[in-house]
Subunit: 432 residues, 2 copies
Amino acid sequence: MSPHPSAHVVRLGVLGHGVVGSAFVALVTQQANQILARSGVRLEVTKICVRDTTKKHSIPSGAVLVSDPVALVHDPQVDLVVEVMGGIEPARELVFAALGKHKPVVTANKALLARHGIELFNAADNAGTDLLFEAAVCGGIPLIRPLRESLRGEPISRVMGIVNGTTNFILTKMSEDGADYGDALAQAQQLGFAEADPTADVQGNDAASKIAIIASIAFGSIVRMDDVFTEGITKITSADITIARKFGYAVKLLGVAEMDEKSSMLSVRVHPSLVPLNNPLATVRESFNAVVVDGRASGSLMFYGRGAGGEPTASAVLGDVIDAAINLRKGTHAPLGTFSNVQLMPMSDVHCEYMIGLEVADKPGVLHTVTGVFARNGVSIRAAEQDGMGADARLVFLTHNANEAAVQRCLAEFKSLDVVSHVGALLRVIAG
Amino acid sequence: MSPHPSAHVVRLGVLGHGVVGSAFVALVTQQANQILARSGVRLEVTKICVRDTTKKHSIPSGAVLVSDPVALVHDPQVDLVVEVMGGIEPARELVFAALGKHKPVVTANKALLARHGIELFNAADNAGTDLLFEAAVCGGIPLIRPLRESLRGEPISRVMGIVNGTTNFILTKMSEDGADYGDALAQAQQLGFAEADPTADVQGNDAASKIAIIASIAFGSIVRMDDVFTEGITKITSADITIARKFGYAVKLLGVAEMDEKSSMLSVRVHPSLVPLNNPLATVRESFNAVVVDGRASGSLMFYGRGAGGEPTASAVLGDVIDAAINLRKGTHAPLGTFSNVQLMPMSDVHCEYMIGLEVADKPGVLHTVTGVFARNGVSIRAAEQDGMGADARLVFLTHNANEAAVQRCLAEFKSLDVVSHVGALLRVIAG
């Protein structure tokens, strides 16, 4: 018998009991009374699906460990499914199955949503049930809900942010301690901020999956991970960061989704960026995440916090679970709405300012040769600086607003020049 | 006839057509199609109540100017009431009347909510209709919704922030340009960031009303403006700011609501504070607002943006209006829940670190006399610094964690000492 006469019990089936799953189960157990007081809903974890039920798992009384995820989804003792197992399959099929049974689903699975989000959103709306996924993007930071609800009527022009904690940690170490990329990565790995195989983080793929989801929601458009132009941070040097600061910028790996008003094309991309030092994103340090939403009426909003980790992510899952449980009691749901096709801007059409570093022979005429390349391609220079001397000489250029295709032509020409020994990372300037 | 077959028309009555009201009406008209596409709701402004209908107002076709707010609330052509008139009366009665008619209300009125919020929340829940008020706190920043929904299950330990743009602008000018308080205030007035009578801003009352509302929502507790200990920025000097920076802090006027775990008492206060320079609040410049929510699971979250202004505030009103309109269509509402009595911590019980500046006679024995006062009252000193020379000599102390009552006893003693010519502002250190 329920101890709270008007309490509505919602029974949770949890797929996965790893870092996020176990943190979620602990949090929901610990917070049960506050949740009941504030929402009138009593959450009960009834089934937890793990790979190996013989392994020791600390679970609350009343919960049962199971090993068959399909059976969990169909279990009549499960009203709501929490998917925190990760990966594409079988997560995709399980979420579809749950929605097909009109069971709300809360998921933290960014890889799944960045690839199959639109189909899943449609399945949820068709079933008239909730699919909530705050935790899939930037861990504990409330971002999806403000975008979906608070800013539903807002004319949004751009959403961009630091959506990967690993790379932000590395860039912070490079910036503040002058560490080089390899040392900063090693430090991140030692402290658990980077995985043994850091590829998905440092190459920008993790950020790409998040910005794809964010762009879909912010612009009501169909954006998939494969649509995102992606460049990582592996070519960034601490010298790049030092000279960027001299020019008034911090170096950050940003996910950017930007609507071009003239062409109505959406540019979605991930790349190392120069952020003006007085932009609040420039001050986001270590493994923190932050996303800036530029609305025509709202102005610039920033959402900041822990973008990963078991507890922050579990916190976001719990917020969604409570919401879905309340809706379930009311027999309602929060429609995801229609997602329209949007024309994506090819990267070659993008315009911005650029910083380019070239290692060159320190002899007469080099600057003339290099600037000739820029001039021929119609790229105009705002500032140039020589960094270092002799064999280590490096020329660093900051361009005026230029076209990506033209800049790429310059880079190709530089690579073919004898006097250029190395073409450094291309850094794109974020406009205020 | 509706041009969209499945569209649900919600007719809005708008009380007030000032800076926020006119920005809201313009925004809802301009965004009507996006709102329809994303929410299935067609918003129509049918009635706008102004004080003087003979004055020129630019309003959309289909809307009618009226002068009787009571008639507007009862008008059968008004489904939802937007209260952007401000002030306590008649706003209070009008909101009660609308809720009594089961009409959802969206309000931007912080003064009203900070005094009568709990009664209004109860009235809304009793009527089974929505009372939404994102715009009443920090203008365009989505904060109330994340607190109410995303963080409903989160164990929150502290909410604090820069919730007044005028004072943050003044402190920024004092900090960055070395301006003194009077000049910075004059500049703020000239630029429209401060009113001709800046009292409510600079004395902290505006911030107090906002932190009262935020504390109510974050802790599910009854907190009214009169419960908030309030100190403004008028005693802050640019010398305070300079020396604070030397100690590693920025000076910010913060609203703070903090749960003391041991005593289960809630401390709610507004005062000039020392914020560690690596805290994200330290980097919030000019008239921007930002609120940090510390949750046990979520970690520190920050919400940042334009805390005032017609368009940002209108953006927040619109987000709420869409939400209430969707709920109205579904015949549901988002309950505000129960607010429990909480024991408020008297200011004299607060413990923190303090910075205190004293103008003293520059002669032997003064430091000994002053430190004797601290010692007798059990206040231990972490750092002391002499600022200036001769007649301008100032001693600045940074204490270890100390009790407010003990520190106030010290201040009273200092004021009675011959060798102390002036006791400066008391600055309270925000713990990381």
